[in-house]
């Protein structure tokens, strides 16, 4: 079933059939190594793909390819792997859609530039995390922020939040979805890119 012995993970029950990497490990890797690259990745895609509105979809497709490959073996180092996948995807799309690439086909040199950008040093991430979170929270609509804090920090149920703020439970839910979605976008993008 697998070519290589399992390296480390004990919870074989979590392995999808035919996959060599457990979902648990895959998830941990994706969150730790791939998501912090999202800003650099979308920038890279934006430099080469002419239609800005496609970037999120391209990014999603890159993730899917990464995921499918990492199910067999988690690549190391992550960063060159992610950008190689992104490059291959772009080339496929240029061909399929007969799109003229802007700035030319991303060649290996371009790839080098992209991979030379400062990587996700965990210490830096941790140090900047509070600042990033604080800024992201400050940019949320006030009501959505308030609801998110009551839910996430104070661990209140939606019902309790609704009662406390005197709003409908469904409104609480809408605020939560809104706040969480915006937060996810802000935490995964460059400061300059967001509206």
């Amino acid at each position: 079933m697998v070519e290589k012995p399992d390296t480390g993970s004990e919870n074989s029950a979590l392995h999808p059939q035919g996959a060599a990497v457990s979902t648990h490990d895959l998830k941990a890797w994706f969150i730790r190594e791939v998501l912090p690259l999202e800003a650099a990745l979308t920038q890279f895609l934006g430099r080469h793909w002419p239609h800005k509105e496609d970037i999120d979809d391209l990014c999603q497709d890159v993730y899917i390819r990464i995921y499918e490959s990492a199910q067999r073996k988690i690549p190391s180092p992550t960063r060159p792997f992610v950008f190689a996948i992104a490059r291959n995807l772009l080339i496929d799309r240029f061909r399929r859609n007969r799109v003229t690439p802007i700035n030319g086909v991303p060649d290996l040199a371009a790839l080098e530039i992209a991979t030379d950008e400062p990587g996700p040093d965990r210490g830096t991430i941790a140090r900047d995390e509070l600042r990033l979170l604080r800024e992201a929270f400050n940019r949320l609509p006030p009501r959505a922020r308030e609801v998110l804090v009551l839910k996430r920090i104070d661990n209140l149920s939606r019902q309790e939040i609704a009662r406390r703020l005197g709003i409908a439970e469904n409104t609480v839910k809408q605020h939560l979805v809104e706040a969480t979605r915006r937060l996810a976008d802000m935490l995964h993008e460059d400061e300059g890119r967001s509206s």
Binding site: D57, Q60, Y67, E129, L133, L156, V177, T180, L183, H188
Partner: protein, 327 residues
């Protein structure tokens, strides 16, 4: 989901992200999360890797948002209606069980013959479903054995911590043995922690009796009600009513989180060290006494150390496997 095209300009990826966020927001609402919802959620996840990945992305943000609690440790903290929040925490805690069990995947235990002993490594967790539908969630670094051959339903927590959600049967009471104490379920969800120096029983729901026959002074038996925490040391047993921090800490591990409120750095480090090979070491008493508040991922001592450095102004140093915290 319907497949009709809408006028909106949102991309496919945006739609998936929105769905993922809606699921997340639904799923954290533990009181109303049902097996049916879990089933629908699982089906949605399985539709395409894009869904799974978007959910991980949303979940990551959600977890990180918990760190914002740290900001508030500097602001004067209003503590409104503590009792009210308390009861909410109880209900929430009880309902969390339904989520935890499905997420971890109890199926692996349902068909195979049951081993007599279950254990988890440092940082691990495991769920066990007994034949009667009772459920046990085993926390990090724990050993639990099923005592067979006894007419009663009985287990022994040799080490570590477990959450029990027991199908009550008055004729066949469920008992947990831990370091010579016996906990008897009287219709119950509770946690038991057996550490080297003491056994702690926190009652979430229903009622349970704790017997400590070897106690030399004070009560040898106590009937707990929701919110009670019984602490038994070698020679004593005491029951504390509604200690918010302890019960919350006692339950948050089931979501992979550590929740601190008015917790000293020393206490926080001890909690982290239960879950990680990389140990937090505090060098001076002043640092050890500093208090913090917040929600953290139990398996990331490193992130916690960096956070403590940024927020509390202490120094951190990596020495071998240890992370040393000092002024």
């Amino acid at each position: 989901m319907s497949s009709h095209e809408t006028e909106t300009s949102s991309s496919e990826a945006e739609k998936v992200r929105l769905q993922a966020t809606e699921w997340l927001v639904e799923r954290v609402e533990t009181e109303s999360w049902t097996p049916e919802k879990q089933q629908a959620f699982d089906a949605w996840l399985a539709e395409t890797p894009a869904n799974q990945l978007a959910f991980w992305r949303a979940e990551d943000s959600w977890n990180r948002a918990g760190l914002v609690a740290e900001f508030r440790s500097f602001a004067p903290r209003p503590q409104p209606r503590r009792g009210f929040r308390w009861s909410g925490a109880m209900k929430g805690a009880a309902a969390v069980a339904a989520v935890a069990i499905i997420a971890i995947g109890a199926l692996q235990f349902s068909q195979t013959p049951k081993p007599l002993s279950y254990s988890t490594p440092v940082g691990g967790q495991k769920s066990i479903v007994l034949a009667d539908g009772s459920r046990i969630d085993l926390n990090t670094d724990s050993i639990l054995t099923i005592n067979e051959g006894s007419p009663q339903r009985s287990v022994t927590l040799k080490k570590g911590e477990a959450y029990f959600r027991i199908k009550h049967d008055a004729k066949h009471p469920f008992t947990v043995m831990a370091a010579g104490r016996r906990i008897t379920d009287l219709g119950t969800a509770f946690t038991v922690r057996n550490s080297s120096s003491r056994v702690v029983v926190a009652l979430v729901e229903g009622s349970a009796r704790v017997d400590a026959p070897s106690v030399s002074s004070g009560p040898r038996s106590a009937v707990l009600k929701p919110g009670d925490v019984a602490v038994a040391t070698a020679n004593t047993m005491s029951v504390i009513a509604a200690p918010v921090p302890e019960l919350q800490m006692a339950l948050s591990w089931r979501r992979g989180l550590l929740i601190f409120r008015h917790t000293t750095l020393a206490e926080a480090a001890a909690e982290f060290n239960r879950y990680n090979q990389q140990k937090l070491v505090i060098e001076d008493a002043g640092t050890a006494r500093m208090e913090l508040r917040g929600t953290f991922r139990a398996n990331d001592a490193r992130a916690f150390a960096h956070m403590a450095k940024a927020v509390m102004g202490i120094q951190i140093e990596f020495r071998g496997d240890d992370i040393v915290l000092h002024r």
